[in-house]
Subunit: 343 residues, 2 copies
DNA sequence: GCTCGGCATGGCAGCGCTGCCATGGCTGAT
DNA sequence: ATCAGCCATGGCAGCGCTGCCATGCCGAGC
């Protein structure tokens, strides 16, 4: 049952050490020898014993995914992507749910430190909002623990994957403007998330580009949750001059907006256009199907993990990779109501 | 940085071996010695090196979670529960996404076998629909690989966690009957899932108990997806005598039903009552909020993992644990429409 | 008193692999 | 011709633990 490196070595007619070199892509092996070894590995269907490798090699061949569950579907996508990358690089993934709070700073840092000491991952993948912790990055650099970030607020000197959320949000807002909307509201996300700022920024950019006045009454604070979307929408719809379109910083809040509109007997998009951000599975299961921005989360997970894994060998060659977003135009946005049209 | 068992031993004034015994809860250590060792462990904040343990102990201290993503939110819950149990037992969890298909039997079994050989998990946790594979259980027993199941179709001789879905479905149907509905439809789930059969069974039971005739036209096959819910609903609403309530075997399909109803200008629950099963996060984000059955998935994951971990030490003491469900009565079900009432 | 069995503890090899160093052959500069 | 320096490969200790066996002690039974 258990094939060992010794068996491969004797089949290939070389030493264990040479097999080890081939397996770890180390240099200084003749091409011909390399092939012989690879053939033997394939023939015996050999896979190195992870624990033995780890014990002798002083690393765990494990990377840890740190998260504070913002949304199960998003996380599942990221996780699948990371898993894909781990698979191809013969690494394992460990999952670390954390309670993120930039407030109880010391405690949070301590939790991460003990995770690093005891779980011994070779590197970390940080997901939002953990990416935006004020001091974690610095501390990890001090501890010499490599890490990659997904959608960090500030990506200078940081590897991983991100997406031009400012442009995406601005394009989404432009879509509403193109439909004739002039009173466009925005519900912001949780202030701890970098995404909240970018999406607001994109909204402002698009207004400015179209020559529309920014109206502070039309920007309401949410916190990414469904309930916060409902209450924000109620406030907006109660305005003397309510908006004709609401761009919500994520899908959950957009669902809240649609809910609040339905409560009042409004029909979306006839009476109100609504759009979100993230393209969660829920977004096309609600009625009407939600116009939103899709980010390729799985791909981002895979890219971040790949960058991290590469950084473990050669820290120089790594970078922050920008991935493209896609506008998903569905049924929740439409032309501005007739009676509301301004010349 | 790295505390080793040797350090603990010398601090406690005993041999490495004795420390090892204490750490692994082995018998034949004096209570006093045990305490001394535990104190030393605590003082040094010692955690054994997983790879070294694994290499010397001939086991991996890892359990594998096998799944074929039915729904990200369900899976995320299960996963969190398993992680909880692993945490308390000092085990690790590895994730194994699989492509389930009872058709390509040999290939599936082979995939699982190579996973067992190469990943070396000490045990497996099977989630639906993998739990219902016709031959996997037998094969695992032959290979002597312990496993626990979550909601298996057939739980004889199997450990893990499940829920009385037949009763839950019957109670849900009874709720509709109590609201005055007489023409109640059911959309079934994917035939590969045990859940589909149970939920249909519960539906039938409730009808019978209420003395209502079972009408085969009111049972339509779905496959748990949103789209299959839409098309099933369309077929039902096209009937000469359409149902006044639709019980869908899961939430995604129920969302499809609501969508199809909205398309036709129907108002839920005024014109049609709809209910689902699973209590996904989406279920209270759609309008109207969905009446559904909540299963404590996280708890089930935790219980299944705990049973498995216990089975690793003592296979005798383990069982299939039944967990309670809860009806979530929300806004999508209501009294039967007036003009439809039958005396 | 002596033996015997069981309990508490210790000693040590070795799990399967990699890091480090040694070795020997070959190339190219002198 | 000589030798420094590099490349391809091998040898072996040892990573941190646990399994197995040895040891010594104590109390019960004869």
């Amino acid at each position: 049952m258990a094939v060992r490196i010794e068996d491969v070595a004797s089949l290939a007619g070389v030493s264990m050490k040479t097999v080890s070199r081939v397996l770890n892509n180390e240099p200084n092996v003749r091409a011909q020898t390399r092939e012989k070894v690879q053939a033997a590995v394939a023939e015996l269907n050999y896979k190195p014993h992870p624990s033995a490798r780890s014990l002798a090699g002083h690393r765990s061949y494990l990377i840890a995914l740190l998260y504070d569950n913002p949304s199960p579907s998003y996380l599942m996508e990221i996780q699948s992507g990371v898993l894909d990358a781990c698979e191809t690089h013969h690494y394992g993934m460990m999952l670390r749910p954390l309670n993120y709070s930039p407030a109880s700073d010391a405690e949070f840092i301590h939790t991460v430190e003990s995770l690093v000491v005891h779980g011994r991952p070779d590197g970390l993948i940080l997901t939002p909002p953990i990416t935006d912790h004020p001091t974690l990055g610095k501390r990890l650099a001090e501890l010499n623990v490599p890490y990659a970030c997904i959608s960090p607020r500030d990506w200078s000197g940081c590897i991983g994957a991100n997406l031009d959320e400012v442009h995406a949000a601005s394009e989404m807002t432009a879509h509403l403007i193109a439909l004739g909307h002039r009173r466009i509201a925005h519900i912001t996300g949780h202030p701890d998330h970098g995404a909240s700022g970018w999406r607001l920024q994109g909204y402002c950019d698009a207004l400015q580009r179209a020559g529309l006045r920014f109206d502070p009454n039309l920007v309401v604070a949410g916190e990414f949750s469904f309930d916060s979307g409902i209450s924000a929408a109620r406030r907006l719809l109660d305005l003397k001059q309510p908006p004709t379109a609401i761009f919500s910083a994520n899908d959950d809040m957009a669902a809240g907006v649609i809910n609040a509109a339905c409560e009042r007997g409004m029909v979306v998009p006839r009476d109100l256009s609504v759009c979100g951000f993230d393209d969660t599975p829920m977004s096309h299961q609600i009625f009407p199907a939600l116009t939103t921005v899709r980010q390729p989360a799985r791909e981002m997970g895979c890219i971040a993990a790949t960058q991290l894994l590469r950084a473990l060998r050669n820290p120089e060659s790594c970078e922050m990779v920008h991935v493209p977003y896609t506008l998903q135009l569905r049924k929740s946005t439409g032309p501005v109501p007739n009676h509301q049209k301004t010349p």
